[in-house]
């Protein structure tokens, strides 16, 4: 076997570096490309840009539609994050601690939105909200985003709850604390990193969601990805590159916070 051949070690090593580098570039280049274009002067997105400019950023921040959709995105993502996390906490306790028939099936059911094609969920919620006359409302956005964010929140909290030694909570109970008190004072601080991750990932899921949002959107209420989508269909402008850059930067920031929280919890 090539892999176990000692004399080829250095070759293998360097080829591994090259392959890793190529994959990383493959993943990251579009992002750098779009970021570069957002500062490029060419209206036709010529690459490499003939010169550098901030005018597309000015266009973005001067346009109330872009700003409003960004604010809507933040609102929807924040609400989705809070609601999904609040729902995921009791659900996770039930799925980890509960002693009932069909618990494992329930877990599969709760994580189903991760597997079902988003477009199917999108059509289903669209049909439902259309019947109820709720499309184009903040409620519809948040409710539909909670559906796809919930599996991530539940998995994140379940993982930290499974790692938590329940006897620590029992210790608090035998010390005189009511079960609820013990959970709040002892269990919750211990699973906090999981809960924070749940909130961050729920936020991210909602923040870059486009398929469902396109169906939920109305001319008056749309999220940033929807605005990008609809703009893209009309014309190609570097302002889209600006929106993409901002979208990526916030996602990146949240990923960094999430990995920081994970590191913190590993220190325990």
């Amino acid at each position: 076997m090539l892999l176990s051949h000692g004399s080829l070690g250095w070759k293998l090593k360097s080829s591994l570096y090259i392959i890793t580098g190529v994959i990383a570039a493959f993943l990251a280049l579009p992002i750098f490309f779009i970021m570069a274009l957002s500062f490029g002067s060419s209206q036709w997105l010529v690459f490499p840009p003939p010169s550098w400019t901030l005018k597309w950023y000015e266009r973005f921040f001067d346009n109330s539609q872009w700003i409003e959709s960004a604010i809507t995105s933040l609102q929807v993502a924040s609400l989705t994050s809070i609601i999904a996390t609040l729902l995921a906490i009791p659900a996770s306790f039930a799925l980890v601690r509960g002693q009932f028939r069909g618990r494992d099936y329930l877990y599969t059911f709760f994580t189903l939105p991760m597997v079902v094609p988003v477009v199917i969920i999108a059509v289903a919620v669209y049909g439902t909200f259309l019947n109820l006359g709720l499309t184009g409302t903040l409620f519809a956005f948040v409710a539909s985003h909670v559906i796809i964010a919930l599996p991530f929140a539940i998995i994140s909290i379940i993982n930290s709850l499974r790692l938590f030694d329940k006897s620590i909570e029992d210790a608090a109970v035998i010390c005189g604390a009511h079960r609820i008190q013990a959970i709040i004072k002892v269990t919750f601080p211990a699973i906090k990193p999981g809960v924070i991750s749940a909130a961050l990932f729920s936020f991210l899921v909602s923040w870059d969601e486009v398929v469902i949002s396109v169906m939920m959107a109305s001319p008056n209420l749309q999220t940033l990805p929807v605005k990008m989508w609809s703009t893209l269909r009309q014309d190609l402008t570097p302002v889209i590159a600006v929106a993409s850059t901002l979208l990526i930067l916030l996602s990146l920031l949240i990923m960094i916070i999430a990995s920081f929280v994970r590191k913190q919890s590993n220190h325990h």
């Binding site: 030694d165 029992d170 210790a171 035998i174 604390a177």
Partner: protein, 380 residues
């Protein structure tokens, strides 16, 4: 803290009455009855799945009995939730609160009880001093050694002055040397405080070292209850004999009130045994109660009244420093293990003929047993 009062006449602190716990078809605890005396150190000893931990959990209130009664000072605990039982407990992995300092861990039960700050601080300081952890008061549990964690766990369980302290295999995860140190520490602490301790372990040495009384659990029942000494010297049944220490088992036929037939040998029994005559019985002798004599020694030393003697052939003898163990085949084909102080024992060559003597008073006799009882279980 109360003084140790260990009078038998006093009513028990905790009573278990026909306590039963079933999980579906599986009986974890099978109608046990037990009185726990005030101030005693009682150990539940048994292998895993014997029901010892389940019983402890029922006393703590983490498991609900299927039927039966638990009384603390003659009052039922059954419908009282864990947090209102006022029981102290030390868990297997100590279960300290990782996000709190040692001081706050110990203060937690007082904070929950809304004890005034001055009094809370005073009590925490007192108990920190008692367990000699003043210097570590502001550390997090992750910064402590195993022994220090145990002391914090004990301090946290004692700070609200419970009447009884439950300990669930608290030394299970530690290495042998540290375990022994902590066992000594724990025994001293018990003597000093006089608190009632119920301790769960699967380690018979630990049970012997720590406890005043041992309750031996087997398949959800208590099959032996008494001091370590009594249980070791006069095991109530073959299981206890086999579980606690090493033992030799011989099948004999009882021929009279104090006599029996072992293979072709006539042997005498301690006349305290009351056995049905002309039936098979099981004789148990501890390895250290077997004397091994060379044919010459046997000739020179007269057989003392009450002693038995049979012949045998040495298989193997192993020198263990302070002791010498010897495996011997007797004419019936059965093997016996002896263990004697090495300095008093001549060298025994494999194949040589020896004589085995034992005092009939230092043997136990059972009319009923199961084969699984006497197959030495090495679940330790």
């Amino acid at each position: 803290m109360s003084l140790q009062t260990n009078t038998m006449t006093q009513s028990p602190l905790v009573c278990l009455r026909e306590l039963n716990k079933e999980y579906g078809n599986f009986t974890a605890v099978d109608h046990i009855n037990l009185d726990i005396r005030k101030g005693e150190f009682l150990t539940f000893l048994g292998s895993s799945g014997s029901g010892k931990s389940t019983t402890l959990s029922m006393i703590a209130g983490f498991e609900t009995p299927t039927s039966g009664e638990i009384l603390l000072n003659d009052a039922s605990l059954i419908n009282i939730p864990s947090h209102k039982r006022g029981i102290g407990m030390v868990f297997q992995h100590y279960s300290l609160f990782p996000h709190m300092s040692v001081r706050d861990n110990i203060g937690f039960p007082l904070d929950i009880r809304k004890v005034a700050k001055d009094e809370r601080d005073k009590k925490v300081d007192e108990i920190l001093q008692l367990v000699q952890l003043e210097a570590f008061a502001d550390r997090r549990p992750s910064m402590l050694s195993g022994g220090q964690k145990q002391r914090v766990a004990i301090a946290r369980a004692l700070v609200y002055e419970p009447e009884i302290l439950l300990m669930d295999e608290p030394l299970g995860a530690l290495d042998k040397k540290l375990r022994e140190d902590l066992q000594d520490e724990l025994r001293l602490l018990h003597k000093r405080l006089g608190i009632t301790i119920v301790y769960v372990t699967h380690d018979q040495d630990e049970a012997m070292r720590l406890s005043e009384r041992i309750a031996i659990f087997k398949e959800g029942e208590i099959v032996g209850l008494g001091t370590g000494k009594d249980l070791y010297r006069k095991p109530p049944n073959a299981f206890v004999a086999s579980f606690l220490g090493n033992s030799n088992f011989l099948k004999i036929n009882v021929t009279g009130a104090a006599s029996a037939q072992l293979d072709k040998h006539h042997i005498i029994l301690d006349d305290l045994h009351v056995m049905p005559i002309n039936q098979q019985a099981l004789l148990m002798i501890r390895p250290e109660n077997l004397q091994i004599l060379t044919p010459e020694q046997a000739k020179n030393e007269a057989l003392i009244n009450g002693f038995n003697q049979i012949s045998g052939t040495v298989n193997e003898s192993v020198f263990l420093g302070e002791s010498l163990t010897c495996s011997i085949t007797i004419p019936s084909g059965e093997q016996l293990i002896s263990k004697n102080i090495a300095t008093e024992q001549p060298d025994l060559e494999p194949g040589s003929t020896v004589f085995i003597r034992w005092n009939s008073k230092h043997s136990s006799l059972y009319s009923k047993w199961e084969q699984s009882d006497i197959n030495k279980n090495s679940a330790q």
